[in-house]
Every structure is written in C-alpha cells, then in structure tokens.
C-alpha cells in the first residue's frame, strides 16, 4: 500500500452520499459532486426519484409547495444558459426560490476570491448551492468549506453529474434499462466533463464504451478511467466506433477550447460528423444524445438531430426532472422520516434490483 494514501492528508473527502441504515432502501446525499464515487444502487435510487418529477412535468399545473420557504443559490462562475435555467425551473416547480450569481456580474471579476464569494452567498442562507466553474475540482473544493449541500453543475473538464443522470433517465425511458449497452461517445473526449460523468454512471451498469474523435483529443489513459472491469476502447474512425452502438452521445465541438492545436472545421465534419449515413452503421434504433448546445452542421447533421432516433429535447425535459429530484432529496424532509411525505414517498418500498 502506498504510505501516502494511509496518511491523514486532508479533512473531508469527496464521499458524496451515505447509506441509510434503514431497511427501506433510500439514500441521503450530502453533496452531489461527481458520479465516480456513487454506487449503482444510489444511481438507481436517484433515477427512481426522478420518475414522479417527470409526472409532475406532464401535469397542467406544475408547481408544488414541497420546498416552499427554501432557497437554492445558483452560482455559475462559467457562462451557462440551459443548465442554470433547468436548475432554476426545478427549484421553482418545487416551490423553492433561487438566488442567481452569474460570472459576468460576479465580484470575482473585481478580484474577490472564489472562497470569499461563496462564503458571501452562504451568508444569505441558501439551503443548497448549485455551482458551475471552469476549473476542475472546484465543486469539491467549495464543498469542503461549506456546511450546506453542494451540487456540481459542471466543473471544468472533470464531471457534470446531473447531465449523466438525465442522459441515463432518457436512455432508460427509451430502451427500458441502462444495463450492458454499447455506448459510443463522439468528439473532444479529453476535455469533456459530460463524457466522464457518463462513463462513470453507465460504466457501473456494465455498459461498454467506444470513444471516437481526433487522436489528440483521445489520450490513451481514457481507457482506464472507468469503474473496474469497464471496457473502454478508443477509435479514430467512425465505422469502428459506431458498429453495434445502442447509444451515441455526440459532444459539442467546443470552439472555446480550441487552444489545443485546432483541427480545421472541415476536417472534423469530414471525419467525425454524425450523418444519417453513418448512423446506419449503429444498431437499428440506436439513440442519439447531445448535451447541447448543439451546432448543426458541425458535429451533427441536422437530419439526425431532428430524426426519430434523436433524444435531444427529451434530455432537456428530463434534466428538469432529475434536478427536481436532487433538490428535493438534498433540501426536503428526508423520505425515511415518518412525516416525510412528498413526491418521493410513493417510492418508499421500492428496492432497487441491481444485477
């Protein structure tokens, strides 16, 4: 054993959830920082908790009072529209207020440290903080300094756990389960927090991965980042990557991350755009997911984006459901308490069956 690993080097750590000792299977989450430390059971629990939230979204009157009087701080230190609105909508549907901090107006621009900024936010007494930041590990860092729950809404090129949850929910709704699938991820994998979170989540359910994109965005170490036993292979050609795929996750080509030696756009389109023709190489009915924002004509052919296999808009809808479930679990009365009630109560006797 590495002696350094045994040494008490730091307080806290990144353990994101603790198992309830009760017979009824439910979990309480202190923070949601990453998919990597979660167990398959915990993930299934989160997906199950999202089901009633999906129901609520289909209801004509979408607002609940479950979290009335609670507030969520949305601390987005990196520009974001859809994720921020998704969390704000989720909070509002549960009756919670949200406090907004945006990078452009943030005092960080005036030289304040991140820690001072979040301590200031914390002093306004939110019940939970949702944060996005362009540096990896920042949610983890902030969580070590705050008492309230922290939800990671994307940290640098590390993880984007709620995206992986909404992707898994979307896949499970369409295909019936998320076990043992062949998943192909296309694009700049090295710099993708979406890819990492999806690998950590789906990898715990026996999914196999093919990662495909330009070679400089595919470091060989990616093949080792999954859970033990998870098969991850790299491919630099689409034909090899798409064969037998059940699910295709198309990543956005991040123009702003083109500080790497840029690949000419035309080359990317020629080699890696997901076209109708290429989609035929995957299994019939293979799902196409995209975390958005999508650049039509670059990483994806518009015909595929709008086609029957595309799940893009369901992903957005499910994003709100997943985030409602998380906010409820982290700020609401814990479901195992006698007077807990709330949307999760109906799942009280559900026991996830994980193979």
């Amino acid at each position: 054993m590495n002696p350094a690993a045994a040494a008490p080097l730091r307080p806290g750590g990144t353990i994101a959830a603790e198992n309830s000792p009760r017979d009824v299977v439910s979990y309480r989450f202190r923070n949601l920082l990453a998919m990597e430390p979660l167990t398959a059971e915990q993930i299934l629990f989160l997906l199950d908790q999202s089901k009633p939230m999906q129901e609520i979204q289909r209801h004509p009157l979408k607002k609940l009072a479950t979290l009335r009087g609670k507030s969520v701080a949305l601390a987005f230190f990196e520009p974001s529209t859809r994720t921020r609105i998704s969390f704000a909508t989720a909070a509002s549907r549960l009756g919670a207020d949200s406090m907004n901090l945006q990078a452009e107006s943030s005092s960080l621009k005036k030289g304040e440290s991140l820690l001072d900024t979040v301590h200031t936010l914390d002093a306004m007494k939110p019940d939970c903080i949702v944060m996005r930041h362009s540096s990896s590990g920042t949610a983890d860092f902030v969580a070590r300094h705050l008492e309230i729950p922290v939800i990671n809404a994307g940290d640098g090129t590390h993880e984007h756990p709620t995206q992986a949850l909404l992707d898994a929910l979307t896949i499970r709704d369409r295909l019936g389960n998320i076990e043992g699938l062949n998943v192909t991820i296309l694009g700049d994998i090295q710099h993708s927090r979406v890819a990492r979170s999806n690998i950590h989540l789906l990898g715990k359910f026996g999914c196999s991965f093919k990662l495909c994109g330009p070679a400089m965005w595919l470091p060989r170490e990616l093949e080792q980042i999954g859970p033990p036993g998870c098969s991850i292979r790299r491919a630099t050609c689409m034909e090899e990557a798409l064969v037998d795929a059940d699910v295709i996750i198309v990543l956005r080509v991040q123009q702003e991350r083109m500080n790497e030696p840029a690949l000419p756009t035309g080359e990317y389109v020629m080699l890696y755009q997901l076209t109708e023709e290429r989609l035929k190489m995957a299994r019939p009915g293979a799902l196409v997911l995209h975390p958005g924002p999508m650049i039509r004509g670059l990483e994806i052919d518009p015909a595929v984006a709008d086609g029957p296999q595309s799940c893009v808009l369901e992903q957005v809808t499910n994003g709100v459901a997943v985030r409602m479930a998380l906010l409820y679990l982290m700020m609401g009365t814990p479901p195992e308490e006698p007077n807990g009630g709330g949307p999760a109560a109906e799942n009280k006797f559900y026991r996830p069956n994980v193979t």
């Binding site: 590495n2 002696p3 350094a4 690993a5 040494a7 008490p8 080097l9 730091r10 990144t14 990597e36 440290s113 991140l114 820690l115 930041h133 540096s135 990896s136 590990g137 920042t138 983890d140 860092f141 940290d155 640098g156 090129t157 590390h158 993880e159 090295q190 710099h191 927090r193 990492r196 470091p219 170490e221 990616l222 080792q224 980042i225 500080n259």
Partner: protein, 426 residues
Amino acid sequence: MLWIKNGRLIDPASGTDSALEVLLNSERILAVGHFAEISHEVANRGGECEVLDAAGWIVAPGFIDLHCHLREPGGESSETIETGTRAAARGGFTAVCPMPNTRPVNDNASVTRSILERKASVRVWPIGACSKESKGESLAEIAAMKKAGIVAVSDDGRPVATAKLMRQVMDYCRSLDLPVIDHCEDASLAAGAVMREGQTSVRLGLRGMPSAAESLCVIRDGLLAKLTGARLHIAHLSTKDSLEFVRGSRMHGCQVTCEVTPHHFTLIDEDVVYDSNFKMNPPLASREDRDALLEGLADGTVDAIATDHAPHEPASKAVEFDKAPFGITGFETALALALEQLVHTGRIKLMRMVELFTTGPARVLGMARSIAPGQPADLTIFSTDHAWTFNAAESPSKSRNTPFDGREFKGAPMATIVAGRVVYRR
C-alpha cells in the same frame, strides 16, 4: 566551546560511522575523538565548555539544502529570511540556498548583499539569476554576484528558454567556476498544466504536462554542458528519462549532477486530489518515475536531497486548483521523509542518506563537508526513531502549504548547530 557527547558520528567524507565525540568553538571543529581525548582537549583549552548529550542520536555534518525559496525581498507575506531559516533549523539544515526568484530578482550584487545582511538562523548561500530579471534575454551580473557571495546561478521557475542563452550562461559560469542549476521544463509542453499528465490527470480533468516536458530540457542542458564543459546541476529531477540521461551523460564525462525532493520520492500523481497542497512544479510523477528516483537515490546517481521549500501564504493557496501557485513547504519534513521512505524501508543505508544531505550537496557546490578539526562548526544531530507528528500550524514558517500536515513520523532532527551555536533543539 561545545562538547557533543555520547553520539554516533556519521561522516560520509571519511566513511566514519562510530561512537565519537566532537568539540567545537564558535567557528571551527576543534577535535574529534573518544571521551578521553576530548576531555584532555577541553582541559588544555581551559576546561570551560557546554555539553550536549547526543546519546542515542546520530551526529552528522551540517545538512545543506540546495534548493529553497525564502521569498525575501518582495514576498514577505509568505516567508522572510528570518522565518524561513528558523524553519530550516528545525528541519536540521545548517545552510540553505535560496533561489533568486524574489522581487526584485537576485540578479545583481546589491540584492545578493541585502539577502546576506538579513538576520538568519542558519547560513544563507544565495543563488543568483542567470539572466537579468530571469527574463531569459541577457546575462545577469554573475561575476559581481559571485563576489558578493552567490554559490550558483539559476533562473529557477522561469527556466532559460533558449539554448543559445543557456550556452552563454554555461560558458561564462565555467570561467567563473560556478555551477549552473536549471529547473528543466519545456515551456510549450508545460503551458497551462497543473499536474503530471497521466491517468490521474485524465480522470480528474486537470491539465497535465508530459514527463517529456522535463526530460527534453534535461537532454538539451546535458548536451550544452558537454559543449561548454560547465558544471550543470538539474534541480528537482522527477522523471525516469531525466535520470537515465544524467546517468548516461556522466559516463560520457559530462559534469552533470542532480537533486531529488522528498515529495517526489514520497508521493506520486495518483495521490493528487483537488487540494492545492498537491500542486507543485515539477508535478508529482508517475509511480514508474518515482520508483526510478528511489533507485537513483540508492545507486548514487542522485547527488542530493533538496527540499524546494516553496512557501505560499494560506490565502494564495486556498483557491481553485488551476489558480493556485505551485509549491509546498519542505524544510521540516525532509529528514523525516528520507528516513521513512529510504532508510526505514531498507532502500539505503544511513551513511548514504547523510551523504545526500551533506557531502552530496556540498560537492555540487564545489565544497567539502566533513567532521574534522578545522572544518566549520556546523552539525546536524538527529534521531532515527523519535516518534512525532508534524503539525504545520506550529511551524515557524509563515506558510502552511504542505500535504504532510498531521503525518506521523519516526525520526527527527534533535539539534541543529551552526557556527558552534545550537540554533535549534527539539
């Protein structure tokens, strides 16, 4: 006079490892010998002397740290020469070599002199800059700094970017008989990186620098040392390729020496978490590289253990991993980590470890280091089994940036003697 009694004297210069006592005055070592000889000597010199009982402890030549940052002038919120050298004394060091990356840069004799005038607990042997303001454009006033007291040159932290300037520095320093120390790093490969490239950097989504960023520059410098005949010293060497090149170039007659830090032989990239106390440059290396360093420490390829003590005030480190400055403190944990990783594991003998802290670094600087009559009265007395816990909050350093806070150790400096004076006593 100070009489050090009952200790086990280890002196790599003469290969001595036996129960011998030492008598010092405020300048020099007066005598080394058995009780009877020293008693006689004391009586001859008037009989008045202080006694330090070193029973159960090792008495070694004074430890030298080839690589540290004392931050003064310009960075006094992180460290001063006074606080830094107090921490050095607690770590058993009797002489430390501060790098020139202060504000202003130590690139001229007046800065060198101002450093040497400061109050210090241990000897301060400054390292001067290679180039003006360490900008890598034109030569610094190296000869004048040598006259003022520098022991080597380096643009540490801002490595000399062009081979042409490095060649000029080497040519010039050869004529001045000064070693050239380089923090080897290819700036283009290292740009933006915050840790070593590898599985952990990919998993954590942190930008990594490949080990080649260091080794490329080691190879460049090695070839230039061969071309110029200069004495080249590789700072904080951290990769297997660099080490193999150093080994090979010695066989070709180049004067290349190297140092390794305690954190590089103790920790690896897999230990990195989102805590800026694990962010240093060069970054923690792969397991394979670390194992090669351990081998190099054992087989003689590595000349010295150097701390790269790099204090940063708490606020500057309590930021996003990407934003935090590189570096950790190192004086007070160096000996304990060397004992833990190298001696207690059986990898090297105590004699070799003492060499890495004393005669090794002295040789890099072209000096001698031994416990013999006439030598400077600098000694490090340490225990190999004293149990203690490192508590960074108790450090005299102004900074707390260390991944070893709270670590339990076996073995520690017990007394540090500089110019015959006990500057630290545990």
